[in-house]
């Protein structure tokens, strides 16, 4: 077929066939570039007809020849390539051949139509569609699904026609019963007026009734005979209809599966968006804290005075905003312990640090002298010598450190003087030295008998007695506060107020400027005289009157201790004091009156750690839970459950970090309520104490190691 058209075209050309390469160039130059979609046939024809006029290289004497020649030459070239060899080229080039010319009259005149935009779009997008790749066949999936046409046949309205036809065949010509009228009458509605029909019915029935008496009652289908062909046809049709039903069912199944998949995908997206929302909430809380810090600094820098400097800053326990960290800290991978400090061989009992990369003080179980570390280098600078019993609690604020030990004393240390002590190491025990006053009295603080001397210098009520001149070399110990009769197990100081709790079940408030004990609060008294406001719960049934000793629930490694600290934790702010005690109660005291005005009950084990801010009190206890209480209502807002007893915690608006008897440090995200653990390069025995500032976290464990983490 193509050959014949070639032959005819060559026969018609008056000037002979131009050689092929000339033809190709004409073709190439005359037609627009491939990829340009043709708009309409008319345009294509006209474009090609006028193409010679637009060409610069054409000689004028050739133009006329081209006008006549071009179509035929193009046809010649086209017929060569119209065979389906390459798809892309033929579809995109406006084919100008006899077929095109043949079509133009139809397009232009005979049809008397205009090409609509739809048609144009359809043609234009055809090439784009072809560009869309055909997926490589999925035979297993496709075989299971009915073809589109099959679905069409099943769902088209005429699909039901066979059924309707069969129903029609089952319509029996029964004498008219007036069923419609009956049904309307049954519903109590007025029927249409069709009296004549009714008469007919009545008459007919009577007649029929009479006639049929003899034959008896017959069923409606008795008279109907279908015939074999009809019945066969009906069988086939029913078969087809059943297949159609099958097809429709499978279509619906597919649709349902599709929709389910879409819903799942959307659900997934929704959960992700909600998580993002939570993240934003967290960030907002962080920004609030940062704002607080910035405002504090504003005040601070607004009133510049060196001595006021330290008192202006809130204690590190209350400071919320971000800390000052070296820029390298940002590069640290989060959740990995990047530094480890080995402190002896016994479990860490207490730790605190002044600021990130500042000074760290740690105390261990069998060691009465806490170690002083420089966090920047990770080396031990010195030790705080003075106590005679294990230091169970300590707090560091800038360069002042307060320690409470089992010997019942509280010592204040000046950390700037730790280097001096290290140099003069023969001075084993430090003096009691006032910070600001100079006195004339000389007392020699020698080497060996200092502890005895010290004890004798100190009166039970803790008043300052010793006055040594400045020139006497002194260790870092600034002051000793004695007064408790048993081990001091919790302390907290801010500005000039220090509060301590001891195993003698009393809380004492001290004035640091004078070193005097200002108030003593007896917990036993508070227990036996409960105040009117007590939150729901019950007191743990521990023997309170005698010696307090409770076995801890086993740690993750199975070990357990005898917990004897009746006062697990204290914190104060101005005149408000909160204490957590071994009976499981968190008591709120007013230090102006010395009364516990509120008791928060809920824990079923001794409270080991607590912290409060303006809104919440968070307490952790050996009953394996951390409770968050609302200060205003006294109710529990949240309870965080762990697997082992909680021994230390710290919280801010976004998270609660706790040591819960496992090797990993537990972090609870308050906004997203998610738990996470820090364990990479972590402790090999349960963590005992944690402390963090901004993104710098320290943890001390029973493996006698302190690990530093980047949050």
């Amino acid at each position: 077929m193509p050959a014949s058209s070639t032959g005819s075209s060559s026969g018609k050309s008056p000037m002979g066939i131009v050689p092929d390469d000339n033809l190709r160039t004409e073709l190439a130059s005359a037609s627009p570039q491939p990829g340009f979609a043709s708009t309409s046939r008319l345009d294509a024809v006209s474009r090609n007809l006028f193409a010679p006029f637009k060409h610069r290289k054409r000689d004028s004497h050739k133009i006329l020849a081209d006008l006549i020649m071009t179509p035929k030459m193009m046809a010649h070239a086209q017929t060569v390539s119209v065979r389906p060899r390459g798809i892309g080229t033929t579809s995109t080039r406006p084919t100008l051949d006899f077929a095109t010319i043949g079509r133009t009259p139809l397009r232009l005149g005979l049809g008397a139509r205009r090409t609509t935009s739809r048609e144009l779009e359809v043609v234009e997008t055809a090439s784009e569609i072809l560009a869309t790749a055909l997926p490589d066949a999925l035979p297993d999936d496709e075989m299971g699904r009915p073809s589109l046409l099959r679905g069409f046949e099943a769902t088209v309205p005429s699909a039901d026609s066979a059924r309707a036809r069969r129903r029609a065949t089952r319509n029996v010509d029964a004498p008219r019963l007036g069923l419609k009228r009956l049904s309307l009458g049954a519903r109590g509605l007025m029927a249409e007026e069709a009296e004549s029909e009714e008469d007919l019915v009545v008459v007919a029935r009577e007649r029929g009734h009479r006639g049929r008496k003899k034959r008896g009652r017959e069923s409606l289908s008795a008279n109907k005979v279908f015939g074999r062909e009809e019945l066969d046809r009906q069988t086939r049709e029913i078969g087809r209809d059943k297949e159609n039903l099958h097809v429709r069912r499978s279509l619906l199944h597919n649709d349902i599966a599709e929709i389910t998949a879409k819903i799942e995908a959307l659900d997934g997206i929704r959960t992700k968006l909600e998580e993002d929302l939570l993240k934003l909430q967290e960030d907002e809380l962080e920004l609030d804290d940062e704002l607080l810090m910035v405002q504090e600094r504003l005040e601070l820098e607004g009133s510049r005075s060196g001595s006021v400097h330290s008192s202006f800053m809130a204690s590190s326990r209350r400071r919320k905003g971000p800390a000052f960290l070296p820029s390298e800290h940002d590069e640290l991978p989060p959740g990995i312990a990047f530094m480890t400090l080995e402190c002896g061989s016994t479990p860490i009992t207490a730790l605190d640090f002044s600021e990130p990369y500042g000074t760290l003080i740690t105390s261990s179980l069998e060691d009465a002298h806490p170690r002083v570390w420089d966090l920047l280098s990770g080396e031990e600078i010195g030790r705080l010598r003075g106590h005679t019993g294990t230091v169970k609690t300590l707090q560091v604020e800038a360069h002042i450190c307060a320690t409470g030990a089992t010997d019942g004393t509280v010592r204040l240390w000046d950390l700037r003087r730790v280097d001096d002590d290290a140099e003069s190491s023969e001075w084993d025990l430090s003096d009691v030295l006032e910070e600001t006053e100079e006195e004339g009295d000389h007392t020699d603080s020698g080497n060996g008998d200092s502890p005895v001397e010290e004890q004798s210098r100190i009166r039970p009520n803790g008043t300052r007695l010793n006055r040594t001149p400045k020139e006497d070399t002194s260790g870092p110990c600034v002051r000793v506060l004695a007064g408790h009769s048993k081990a001091v197990t919790a302390l907290y100081f801010e500005n000039d107020t220090l509060v301590t709790g001891a195993s003698d079940k009393t809380l004492r408030q001290w004035d640091l400027a004078t070193g005097q004990c200002v108030m003593t609060m007896d917990i036993l008294w508070a227990i036996s005289h409960p105040s009117s406001t007590m939150s729901a719960g019950h007191l743990a049934g521990f023997p309170v009157a005698g010696t307090f000793a409770v076995p801890t629930p086993p740690y993750a490694d199975g070990s357990w201790d005898l917990y004897q600290d009746f006062l697990g934790a204290v914190q104060s702010w101005e005149y408000a004091l909160v204490s957590g005690s071994g009976d499981g109660a968190v008591r709120m005291w007013d230090m102006r009156t010395g009364q516990a005005h509120r008791t928060l009950l809920g824990h079923t084990g001794p409270v080991t750690c607590l912290q409060f801010d303006e809104i919440h009190v968070v307490s952790g206890s050996l009953d394996k839970s951390v409770r968050i209480w609302d200060l205003r209502t006294g109710g529990i807002t949240e309870t965080i459950k762990y697997d082992h007893g909680v021994t230390a915690l710290q919280f801010d608006s976004r998270k609660v970090i706790s040591a819960a008897g496992e090797n990993g440090v537990k972090i609870y995200n308050r906004t997203s309520m998610q738990y996470s653990t820090l364990s990479t390069n972590g402790h090999i025995r349960p963590v005992e104490k944690v402390r963090y500032m901004d993104r710098y976290l320290l943890s001390g464990g029973r493996d006698a190691a302190v690990k530093i983490w980047a949050l």
């Binding site: 077929m1 058209s5 005819s8 075209s9 018609k12 006549i68 179509p71 046809a75 389906p84 798809i87 033929t90 579809s91 084919t95 051949d97 006899f98 077929a99 095109t100 010319i101 043949g102 079509r103 133009t104 009259p105 139809l106 139509r113 609509t116 739809r118 048609e119 779009e121 359809v122 043609v123 997008t125 055809a126 090439s127 569609i129 072809l130 869309t132 055909l134 997926p135 066949a137 999925l138 999936d141 496709e142 699904r145 073809s147 589109l148 046409l149 099959r150 679905g151 069409f152 769902t155 088209v156 309205p157 005429s158 086939r236 078969g239 087809r240 297949e243 279509l251 649709d255 929709i259």
Partner: protein
Amino acid sequence: MHTDMSKTAEVPYAADAEISLSFDELQVLRTQYEKEVAQSHVTTQTKFNYAWGLVKSPIREHQAEGVQLLADLYRSEPTRRRECLYYLALGHYKMGNLAEAKSFNSRLLEREPTNLQALSLDALIDNAVKREGYIGMAIAGGAAALGTLLLAGLIRRASRK
């Protein structure tokens, strides 16, 4: 399970496309489609039903719309592309866009050289192209004859003067 598979071929022969649906049937399909559009979830089957009904109709506008819908289907349902190729070829053939029809059909034949319907459509398209080619030749011939006549008249007039 299926008793008579010959009646329900996977894709219809081109002759089936010439049989158009009644107006009412097409209307039903249209309302079904528009209802689903309003619900903003159009099932493939409904879209195909409507598109196929449109393509079968003799009105060119309908055919164009049907082809448009089929093109949408092609884009959105990768699993149905094989069938859509055939229907697109059929639609374009009916509309007279023989080049597109040819290219779609060739695409299909690349994949399935033994597809009976595709082969028959291929033959139909070739015939149509040939037919139009003859018409074109006739017109071109007539135009050439007219042109030479005019030219001869002009030359004669010029030579007379």
